[in-house]
């Protein structure tokens, strides 16, 4: 009978924990929704990257710059769809919620930045800036959510792998031999720029070593071209023409 009612009487405890239970369930459900959206973003971004490669290897009469612009335009179209998904996530990421869930959306965000920066490179030949990325993730100047510097840099770092693929497959194309040299210098600069940032961003050092490998692959390819060309005392574009005439008549 004289049950010590004063101590945190069970009902009070239940009431208190009822509140926690709801909060934890909410958090988990939100986490699940964000993970799913992030997977969608990853998949669509990968498709954009394939699309860009596909256009850049088309056999066509367009000059290289026109082709690149066409690729960037097509890519931009698809990137809009991804931006829509990222925009729709903003309600789940307001205020404190963003940093609570950042790890769950990181993979998608990085893959998006990789795709976006690839399109940007094709169009402008430069690295997309932090502000430019943040602008694509905004609605009339209001950001969907803060862009973490680490995701920006890690996404960019993946770009060098795609550039390596781009350079290698450009080589057998007319003018591609010059393209390889261009990409080689660009990736060499990326490597240098990122080198100073590795101590600040977790995971960047590992990606930097992939960048290194990619760079060496491009260098080897550029070397192979130089060696072949060296035997003939003619400028590369004349050599290209001779080969083209020989092969396709």
């Amino acid at each position: 009978m004289s049950q010590p009612q004063t101590l945190g009487s069970k009902d009070t405890v239940v009431q208190l924990f009822q509140h926690f239970a709801e909060e934890l369930d909410d958090q988990n459900d939100r986490r699940e929704r964000l993970i799913k959206s992030s997977r969608d973003v990853t998949n669509l971004s990968k498709k954009v990257i394939f699309l860009l490669h596909r256009i850049m290897t088309e056999e066509t009469d367009e000059d290289d710059h026109t082709l690149a612009l066409r690729a960037a335009t097509s890519g931009r179209q698809k990137l809009k769809d991804i931006q829509k998904i990222l925009g729709s996530m903003q309600v789940e990421l307001r205020g404190n919620l963003f940093w609570q869930n950042q790890k769950n959306i990181s993979p998608g965000l990085q893959e998006y930045i990789e795709a976006l920066s690839f399109a940007h490179y094709l169009e402008h030949g430069t690295l997309i800036s932090f502000q430019e990325v943040q602008e694509t993730l905004s609605d009339n100047g209001a950001p969907f959510f803060p862009l973490p510097m680490s995701d920006y840099l890690l996404g960019l770092s993946d770009l060098t792998g795609e550039l390596m693929r781009y350079a290698i497959s450009a080589i057998p194309r007319k003018g591609g031999r010059m393209k390889a040299d261009e990409v080689c210098s660009f990736v060499r600069r990326c490597k240098a720029d990122f080198a100073g940032l590795t101590p600040f961003v977790k995971g960047l050092a590992k990606k930097q070593s992939v960048t290194n490998q990619s760079l060496q692959k491009i260098e080897d390819a550029a070397y192979a071209i130089a060696v072949r060309t060296s035997e003939f005392d003619l400028p590369p574009d004349i050599l290209d023409d001779i080969v083209a005439r020989c092969v396709s008549g």
Binding site: M1, S2, Q3, P4, T6, L7, G8, S9, K10, T12, V13, V14, L16, F17, Q18, F20, A21, E23, L24, D25, N28, G95, N96, F98, W99, Q100, Q102, T126, L127, S129, F130, P146, M149, L153, R189, C190, D193, G196, L197, F200, V201
Partner: protein, 227 residues
């Protein structure tokens, strides 16, 4: 990257590093304070119930002292970045919650509320986008409380206090009922929650021992726990 961009990136990253260093310093202080609190409270296992109030009087000001830390942290953390940095001090804050909860239990026999913890540690509601006490940390603190209470049930009996295990048993059972309302992920909290069951079992064994040996008076004749 053009130089302007590179400078921007560098300044951002260095700002973060700076901030991390500053928070680390505060956490270092926080740790020191909670270590002292926990050290003092460790004495309950050898202290007879009449000397407990004076022990609590020693601990309370040390807990209140943590307010300078929480204030500094709240000032350091940029708006909305609470979750970005909180892992740095979650061990300290859990220890503080444990300290406050044990003081409350020993003083009043009741479960400390989140509101009361926030009050003791001086955590203001309007800081919530920079510093707050998340459910997770509060719950971790309570689990540590139960771990310690199961030890206390044992040591109280050693000191001849046969009532304490009963009080602890009722308190912990209620608390456990609360915990079992939660759906947990497979994380540390889940694993620690599983371990609660062993504490509960241990406490029950002590209750069993003292009950069967009739070391406690029949309920009607027992003194009421202090409110």
């Amino acid at each position: 990257m053009d130089q302007h961009d590179l400078d921007f990136i560098n300044s951002q990253l260095e700002g973060d590093i700076d901030l991390r260093e500053k928070i680390k310093e505060q956490v270092h202080e926080f740790d020191k304070k909670t270590r002292t609190v926990v050290g003092l409270l460790n004495k309950v296992h050898g202290t007879t119930s009449d000397k407990i109030p004076s022990l609590l009087d020693d601990v309370r000001p040390l807990l209140v002292d943590c307010r300078t830390i929480t204030a500094s942290l709240a000032q350091l953390v940029p708006q909305n970045q609470f979750w970005r940095w909180k892992d740095m001090w979650s061990n300290s804050i859990r220890a503080a919650v444990f300290g406050a909860a044990l003081v409350e239990y020993l003083g009043t026999g009741t479960l400390i509320t989140v509101v009361k913890v926030n009050e003791i540690l001086g955590i203001h509601d309007e800081w919530k986008d920079r510093l707050a006490l998340p459910a997770e940390d509060y719950l971790h603190g309570l689990i540590t409380l139960v771990n310690e209470l199961s030890r206390l049930a044992v040591n109280a009996v050693t000191l001849g206090n046969y009532e304490e295990p009963i009080r602890i048993s009722i308190f912990v059972k209620d608390l456990f009922a609360g915990f079992s309302m939660l759906n947990l992920k497979n994380d540390t909290l889940r694993r620690r929650y599983d371990s609660l069951k062993y504490d509960l079992k241990k406490i029950e064994e002590v209750v069993y021992d003292v009950s069967l040996r009739k070391l406690v008076a029949p309920p009607g004749q027992r003194p009421q726990p202090t409110p």
